[in-house]
């Protein structure tokens, strides 16, 4: 038998004949049997006849629960609350540990080294007190929650739960006049808004895509989760006894995230009834089968892809930001530092809307990356209050081993529960980071829509904080 380049039709026929003899006459029947067996098997899996109990299908059973009208939303909130609770409770110990090493041990050592080699005070100030401390703070505060949160979130994704969340939300999105696929781009936004912007490419209609882009910012991104978690832990969890504090903090964070989803609906609804009128497209959303998550692989990829990626970004922005913070805190004009000028200028507005000048300055400094809002706020608070013992001088970020130390700084800065609540709200509703704004421009090539996406949330955030502050003060003043 020659199977090669010089096969002729006659070779083929001869070979077929000999194989036919080897196989015997019944191979066709065997083939038919195989087809019939497969057909019966497939039919049995998908058909339910009257009087028969539906064949137990784990996927279908899980879907029936997690996408049910009654249980879908409560389960969703509970599941996310659980994820945050694990994050909040689990992050405390490694956070304190990292801060001990980076700030308690390495920081004094670096200062000694700088002194020993005779660095000028301003250079060691920018390098060590500015850049190093900003980075160390970002590392010790952000790395542990990210290293817990991202793998958990990725496990949910891997398991196949996120498309079910999209399924639950799809109906509401369509009622608001937006595309159901917006629920998917929103899910991406919970990781990173810039990625969320790119993921809106799955929406064909330009009208619905613009709605998805403008509202994507209301999905809390990586850079903002740590702010939410920290403030919720310090101010809201602290109001409750220790044994439920962690859970209450988690619920507060979920509450803010849910509020973000509500804003997404509200703004989508408003846009699709005003400037972006039009028909709603239909689409079919395929729910993929559930898969047992591959735990080790998930942890590995989420650490490499997400945790380190976000951390790297935070560090890249923290380095120059640390230098800028140190500079505006130390360069003085007529005896007052630039930072103080800025804070004093913005303070009346800040106080009016239940925040303060420090927070507003921090949000300006942190336009490149939301990740460095909290380090900046802490540093500037110490600067203006001049509390001793924690900071070592103007523009020096400091060691805060425990939540209660941080609380002490905030109290000295005149913070109240209102400040904390409004900071959480403002963190949810303010301008997107510069990367996201740039992505919007790249995707739309429209200065108008980029401006709308950037300015609408800031305006909303300021208004929201103002209203909350006024209502709060009325109730606080009442006996």
């Amino acid at each position: 038998m020659s199977v090669g380049d010089h096969t002729t039709p006659e070779d083929l026929l001869a070979n077929a004949k000999s194989l036919r003899w080897q196989l015997g006459g019944d191979f066709n029947e065997k083939l038919m049997e195989a087809i019939y067996a497969d057909a019966a098997n497939i039919a049995e899996r998908s058909v339910t006849r009257p009087g028969e109990k539906p064949r137990f299908d784990l996927d279908r059973t899980i879907d029936r629960v997690v996408t049910s009208r009654l249980w879908g939303f409560p389960l969703m909130i509970l599941l996310f609350a659980l994820v945050f609770w694990i994050t909040i409770v689990g992050a405390n110990i490694p956070s304190a540990w990292l801060s001990n090493i980076l700030i308690g041990t390495i920081y004094p050592w670096l200062n000694e080294m700088a002194f020993a080699i005779g660095l000028p005070w301003w250079l060691s100030g920018i390098l060590i007190d500015g850049m190093y401390l900003a980075t160390a703070w970002v590392l010790s505060v952000m790395l542990p929650p990210m290293a817990i949160f991202f793998p958990l979130f990725t496990l949910l994704e891997d398991f196949g739960y996120l498309p079910r969340v999209a399924f639950n939300l799809d109906n509401i999105f369509r009622k608001t006049g937006a595309h159901g696929k917006q629920s998917l781009s929103m899910m991406m936004g919970f990781g990173c808004n810039a990625a969320g912007m790119i993921s809106t490419r799955i929406i064909d209609s330009p009208r619905e895509r613009l709605i998805a882009m403008i509202t994507n910012n209301f999905a809390l991104c990586n850079g903002r989760w740590p702010t939410q978690i920290l403030i919720a832990t310090i101010f809201i969890g602290a109001l409750f006894p220790a044994y439920i504090a962690g859970f209450v903090s988690a619920l507060a964070v979920v509450g803010i995230a849910v509020l973000g989803v509500l804003f997404t609906f509200l703004i989508s609804w408003g846009l699709s009834r005003s400037v972006l009128k039009g028909e709603v497209s239909t689409f079919s959303l395929e729910l993929p089968p559930y898969r047992p998550p591959r735990i080790l692989q998930t942890i590995y990829t989420s650490v490499i892809d997400r945790t380190l990626f976000v951390l790297w970004r935070a560090v890249v922005f923290a380095l120059p930001a640390g230098a800028v913070i140190w500079l505006i805190a130390n360069v003085q004009i007529a005896g007052t530092s630039i930072a103080e000028y800025m804070i004093n200028f913005l303070n009346p507005l800040g106080v009016l809307i239940g925040l303060n000048g420090v927070i507003l300055v921090a949000y300006i400094v942190a336009i490149p990356a939301n990740e460095i809002v909290m380090p900046t706020v802490l540093m500037l608070t110490v600067l203006v209050t001049g509390i001793g013992g924690v900071g070592e001088g103007a523009g020096v970020m400091f060691e805060l081993d425990s939540a209660s130390d941080t609380l002490a700084v905030f109290s000295a800065g005149g913070w109240t529960l209102l400040t904390a609540v409004n900071l959480m709200l403002f963190s949810l509703v303010h301008n997107p980071c510069s990367t996201t704004i740039y992505t919007i421009w790249k995707e739309t090539r429209s200065a108008r829509w980029t401006a709308v996406s950037a300015l609408l949330p800031v305006g909303m955030g300021l208004a929201l904080c103002f209203v909350v502050a006024q209502v709060w003060r009325i109730f606080a003043a009442a006996p």
Partner: protein, 279 residues
Amino acid sequence: MTKQTSQNITSACETCPVHNAANLLKLGVDMEDWDFVVALAGNPNTGKSTVFNALTGLRQHTGNWPGKTVTRAEGGFEYGGQRYKLVDLPGTYSLLATSLDEEVARDFILFGQPDVTLVVVDATRLERNLNLVLQVLEITERAVVCLNLMDEALRHKIQIDHRRLARDLGVPVVPTAARQHEGLDELLQVVSEVATGQTYCKPHRIQNEPTELKLAISQLVTQIESLYPNLPNARWVALRLLDDDKNIIEAVRKGELGELSQAAPEDAGHDLDLKLETA
């Protein structure tokens, strides 16, 4: 998205599937310059002709008895700016046996090289209908299953998890009730997605094939592929040779197999018509 398109928001409907469905143009027998060819296959009496008429606007005679369509009927429609030629094949239970109508159906799917093969199945007799579906999936990559007569299934309280079915078959499954015109919009959308390659099919292949058969097939496939590199489905030809199919053996001997595979769809169609007449 460019600035220009963002100003065209009022015409966003054009990208919307619903808009397209409303704009189904039934072209009847006017079938010049089609973009895609869709073959319509299925067991007898599954409503294949009803689907055909609903899509083309033709009034091909339909009847509630098996085997009504013995030759191919052709019609056209336009959907989403693309023109489709729809070829209604004779209803058959299988593609393996050698009756004339089965041969017409199977030769067209094989050598007519349709862009999509739409298999209409009777939802109330799924298991029997799946035998044909699995055989179609053996010889073509791009197929869509139209799960027809869902209204009857509902009346008999038969539930079908079409998502599960689609997952098992590896091709899209669209539930329809063609007589009530239900589900045809989705069907068109899915067919166009498969035709344009937006949806990629990964058809189910027969599982429990005997090992010696597998070996024999792979030997023949190697030879067939070296002889006729452009043949769409060498595996099926190998099976026919093993089964002592006189027509195929004759085609190999005369060297017609290669010509058949290179022929344009309409030419293959003429060949089949001739065969039908001379048979």
